[in-house]
Amino acid sequence: MIRRLRGPSRGLRRAAAMLLWVLAATLPVAGQAISQVVFLPQTYYIGDVVEARVVVRATGNLDLMVPGTLPDTDWVDFRSVSVVQRADGYEIRIVFQPFFVGTRQLPPIDLGSMTVSGVSAVVNSLATEAGQTGPLELQPVRDQILLPGTQLMIALIVIALVGVPVIVIGTGGWVRRWVQRVRARYRENRPYRTLQKGLRQLQTDIHELDGKRYYIRLLDLTREYLGGRFSPAFRSATTGELDVQLRRAGIPAEPRTRLVDLFRFGDLVKFANRRVTVDDRTRHLEEVRAVTAGLQKREWEEHRDVGA
């Protein structure tokens, strides 16, 4: 956010550069001379990490050594000093962090055969640039800065916490009825799904099962479907009672007769060891499929009419 603020005026920058040139030109160096001082970045502010590159022209080899300890002041913090040899001399790179506003000379740095001194740093301040005059007052501790989008997130959570119960209360009855209808439909269709699954398995096993086992499974599946779909009484109804139960369940005559005939045939296979062909089995499997699909469709249409 600080970087976004307007930078120093062009005049100020030019004046600072001129000053640097003048200072650099007048730096006294024994056997060597500081020919150039460049600050990176050129314009910097209090607290910025700045690198000052001091170019030293030397006639011969200098034995420059980076000091073990750097100068310690409360207005500038030296981070590092390094020496880079160039064709025409040396470049001393001083990385520091200023904590003052205005122009000050950096403390001298002893490099052994030479001491770098008189390097002036011009430190800018955003406060002064923003037009604030007078001594800067300490500001009270500011609130913690929120991450971008935090307020939006909080707002959404609040809306959810307040809004969802309101929506649930407002539309609860309708939703509950809808869920109940869906559940009831799911439950009603469960016997049919179980039947279909069983019939698929039976079709797979049609050649492996003997006639008796086949019809036991086929009729058990059908009975279970009727028991689950219409009335539990189908589970304990004999074939003779089946017709009565089907009539009670309101099954039309045609599917009723087909089912009863199927059960009569199945009883003969189950209890009288009547022989059956694969064609018989396939025919009866399809018969069960067709009749139950018809019953299911009829029930569905009745529900739809009632719902409408």
């Binding site: 036991i216 009975r223 009484a233 589970r235 304990s236 109804a237 004999t238 074939t239 003779g240 009672e241 009883d267 189950k270 209890f271 009288a272 060891n273």
Partner: protein
């Protein structure tokens, strides 16, 4: 192929048996109006080799039916009126001292007949009842030191009156269990009663012919024995009987809560035999669930003891059996 031929042969035999039974029914129907369930129950008892307990109010042709059945069967018939002063010796016989020879000789009682009608069995004391019931079970009696086998077929039909219970000796459950079937004899319908008036309004002797001979009974029993019962049907019978027993889940909402004591395995055996007879009645060589359901009330009603809950809800044994039949899945 062999099995198929056997089945065909059995089917023919069953067909003949059905015809013969049909003739017997026809003959009985000449004298007995309605009461088809009682007649079928009695025939079931004879063919399944069990004894029958008839319960019904007086005047419902119980005695007449049994007497007529004995005539149709070509069997010796004796009626024993059970009274409080009856002694076991009056029933099974005793040793008589013969003066001429100076020795004791056995005098066989009325139990040595093919068809016994023990009328109002609950009016005789327990000693007489147990003598009869022992004979029913053992099919032999001991007079003095000698044991005499009872004649075949040996068929006891006992009657009891559901009213006038004062001064009676109700049969204990253990003895009731020895009866294969307990038949309820109900009042005739209006049409049947009108027909009764038409037939016997003027006293007349209606002759009926003997249609089933002793050899026929043996053959019929053999045919009944050959009737096939699928394993699933047998399981169904066992399921029905075991459903009457306490399995520790008395708290459920099923019919079990109405039963204090359930049926014994003897019920399963009799259910098995009677279902076979019912299949022959229907002209089938195999048993179907319908047969089991048809005979189950007669086999089970005297074998279950109802709980207080059933009493409080005014439920009869037949109501509970109906519940059982409608809850146990059929094969």
């Amino acid at each position: 192929m062999e099995l198929q031929e056997q089945n065909t042969s059995l089917d023919v035999q069953v067909q003949r048996a059905q015809d013969l039974i049909g003739k017997a029914r026809h003959e009985l129907a000449r004298r007995i109006v309605g009461q088809q369930q009682m007649v079928d129950g009695l025939l079931t008892g004879i063919l399944a080799g069990g004894h029958v307990l008839l319960e019904g109010v007086p005047g419902l042709a119980k005695t007449l039916t049994v007497k007529s059945l004995a005539e149709v069967l070509d069997a010796s018939f004796r009626r024993i009126q059970f009274t409080p002063d009856l002694l076991p010796a009056d029933l099974i016989g005793t040793m008589i001292y013969r003066q001429q020879t100076g020795e004791f000789v056995p005098r066989k009682g009325p139990i040595f007949s093919n068809v016994i009608l023990a009328d109002e069995i609950n009016r005789a004391p327990a000693k007489v009842q147990s003598a009869l019931l022992e004979a029913m079970e053992e099919r032999q009696v001991t007079i003095g030191d000698t044991t005499y086998p009872l004649s075949e077929p040996f068929f006891v039909l006992a009657t009891q009156n559901p009213i006038e219970q004062e001064g009676t000796y109700p049969l204990p459950e253990a003895q009731l269990d020895r009866f294969m079937l307990k038949l309820f004899v109900d009042y005739p319908t209006r049409d049947e009663e009108r027909e009764i008036l038409r037939r016997v309004g003027v006293p007349q002797d209606i002759e009926i012919q003997r249609t089933i001979f002793k050899t026929d009974i043996r053959k019929l029993r053999d045919i009944v024995g050959q009737i096939s019962v699928d394993e699933r049907i047998a399981d169904y019978m066992v399921n029905l009987v075991t459903a009457t027993r306490d399995d520790g889940e008395r708290g459920d909402m099923g019919p079990l809560r109405y039963i204090e004591f359930g049926a014994s395995p003897r019920a399963s055996i009799y259910l098995y035999r009677c279902a076979k007879v019912r299949a022959v009645f229907e002209g089938r060589s195999y048993v179907m669930p319908e047969d089991v359901k048809a005979v189950a009330p007669d086999v089970l009603r005297h074998r279950i003891i109802l709980s207080f809950e059933a009493d409080s809800e005014d439920l009869a044994a037949d109501d509970v059996i109906d519940m059982l039949l409608s809850t146990v899945p059929v094969p």
